[in-house]
Symmetry: C2
């Protein structure tokens, strides 16, 4: 059996056209810099040999890979998938490809991605994982490759970051609930020390205060899971004087809460209003549908990609941080209502 034919190289095209490889390269990269006759000769040879230039070789020489690493904690998480869509749209529009860096809780994989960056396999990195990846004793951010963080805010770093203003959004939720006439509130928190939770918590508290509510709101400790929302509900059910408005730090917990109190005959929103955060797909389908804060996932991805593109184009040095916050409007659905 014959060995697979070697792919045609630029030298083959040059030989066939009777020109130098330099001319072929120029014709393909900057046609306008080549005379029309040359151009025609070369293009004919390209067609005849159905030549495709070897991008790996081109990358080596021109010192760029046209590839961006996107680091995600879990590739199967639909939230990130939607952000990825926005990233892909922007990046592919500029000719960049995406390498997926799926952490999947593996330190080995994380170290591998750090190597990828240090070894010059990518031109830039988008971080959706809430921390700067590290491995073998070094952090990815010292590799002299531009990084941009998205969605999951990373504290104590100077990277450009793209996200929403969690505090302002939570504040608006508070205003909204007060506007409905509620007087007793509770917050279901995320995991201790989670920065997003801190921001949402603070925003909610400030919002209530600003609206003239002096009594501090109740807190149920959660961890972003459906389970912990359900747990908060069982606590809620034991209270003599129950809050009438619940704000959960994310939708999963809001829905866990909602489903659990319903089983005990509590009506939503008649007896209690529930508001979530994120606007995951399911919040549109559950019963009642969930009032929540909409995160513009695709737009967040696109904005981050745009920012990274700018950094990658800024040859001199890695561009100065210019973090960016997008609007996150509250979406009113059927889980919240005027206090009955």
């Amino acid at each position: 059996m014959a060995l697979p034919p070697r792919a045609t190289r630029i030298a083959d095209v040059a030989a066939l056209a009777g020109v130098s490889t330099a001319t072929v390269s120029r014709t393909l990269a900057n046609p306008e810099v080549v005379s029309p006759q040359m151009r025609e000769k070369v293009m004919a040879a390209v067609r005849q040999t159905s030549y495709t230039r070897n991008i790996v070789a081109a990358n080596l020489r021109s010192r760029q890979t046209m590839l961006v690493l996107v680091v995600v904690p879990d590739i199967a998480n639909p939230f990130f998938a939607e952000v990825l869509r926005g990233i892909d749209k922007t990046l592919s529009g500029s000719g960049y490809g995406i390498i997926i860096g799926n952490l999947a809780n593996s330190a080995a994989k994380e170290a591998h991605f750090v190597d990828l960056v240090f070894s010059g396999q990518v031109d830039g990195v988008l971080l959706l994982c809430g921390h700067v990846p590290q491995g073998k004793g070094r952090q990815m951010d010292v590799a002299n490759v531009p990084l941009v963080a998205v969605c999951e805010f990373i504290p104590h770093v100077t990277l450009p970051q793209v996200g929403i203003d969690n505090q302002a959004a939570a504040q608006r939720v508070a205003q909204y609930l007060v506007g409905l006439g509620h007087k007793r509130f509770a917050y279901i928190s995320g995991p201790a020390s989670n920065i997003l939770d801190k921001q949402r918590d603070a925003g909610f508290g400030n919002g209530l205060k600003a609206a003239g509510i002096r009594k501090p709101h109740l807190r149920f400790e959660g961890d972003f899971t459906f389970q912990s929302g359900a747990l908060a509900a069982t606590e809620f059910l034991t209270l003599k004087q129950r809050p009438t408005a619940i704000f959960a730090a994310n939708d999963e917990m809001a829905i866990g809460f909602l489903k659990t109190v319903q089983k005990s005959g509590v009506k939503v929103p008649r007896d209690v209003s529930v508001v979530g955060f994120d606007d995951i797909e399911y919040s549109e389908y559950c019963e009642p549908t969930l009032t929540t804060v909409h995160q513009p996932r695709s737009a967040l991805g696109a904005a981050a990609a745009r920012l990274l593109l700018d950094c990658m184009q800024g040859h001199e040095e890695i561009a100065k941080p210019r973090s960016q916050y997008l609007e996150a409007p509250m979406v009113e659905r059927l889980s919240s209502a005027v206090i009955g």
Copy 2:
């Protein structure tokens, strides 16, 4: 401002260690082939310079990129995200990275991915898109790079494919429903000419026949959307003699059907049993929870990646197709019951 320092090269390490670049390269790739003293000298220099080898250059020379292109129709589709998880697990275990090829209905992007493959930027391709990508008049499968199709079966090609046995699965659904005592059946189809739909349809018909049902089942035309399931429901509601068991070609339609008939007071499963296909996440949460055929998404991805790995290792020529079918068990939930 100083220019960013150039990354250290293998030559720097070699100079520092006082050996040839060949020895450094060998020490890193095959330590056992180098004498212990040499090895120690080299490793010390590697540590001292914190050298990371330039993978792009290594790739060029060794003619492999350790990268696999995964072509998906839509990266934000949770079904594919889960398949991707299985792919990533297997591929990263063997040191391969993933480039995402998100089609997003763009012919330009599709052509770009074809170029990527022809230009040797990836060592293999996984196709989740139900067709062989093409662009500029050429098909991806003639590029002499191994391809494997997953989930979305591609008819009329000789590629290795990994999927489930749709026909057998649908047949089991029929058996199950007959076993519950049902006598009148309907099928909500996918889009015309869709191959998965054809297989599920045929399997359902065969299963009924095999179980002794002679009356042919009703058909509602659908297109895999929630909408079309709802449409089927409105048709269903107009019937004098309604079927008591519905099999939808996917979960979205099953749920669209279910939600719509419920609004007209029809009880599921008391009045009608509903079975879907795929086992999407929502089928566990809707009310009632949906009986459906479980697709082992992550396992499908892993199996396909395994197969591709074999093909990529088979140096001589692209390995012979060895398609593979995984089990797709039916999951009984609350949308189906013994006929009342």
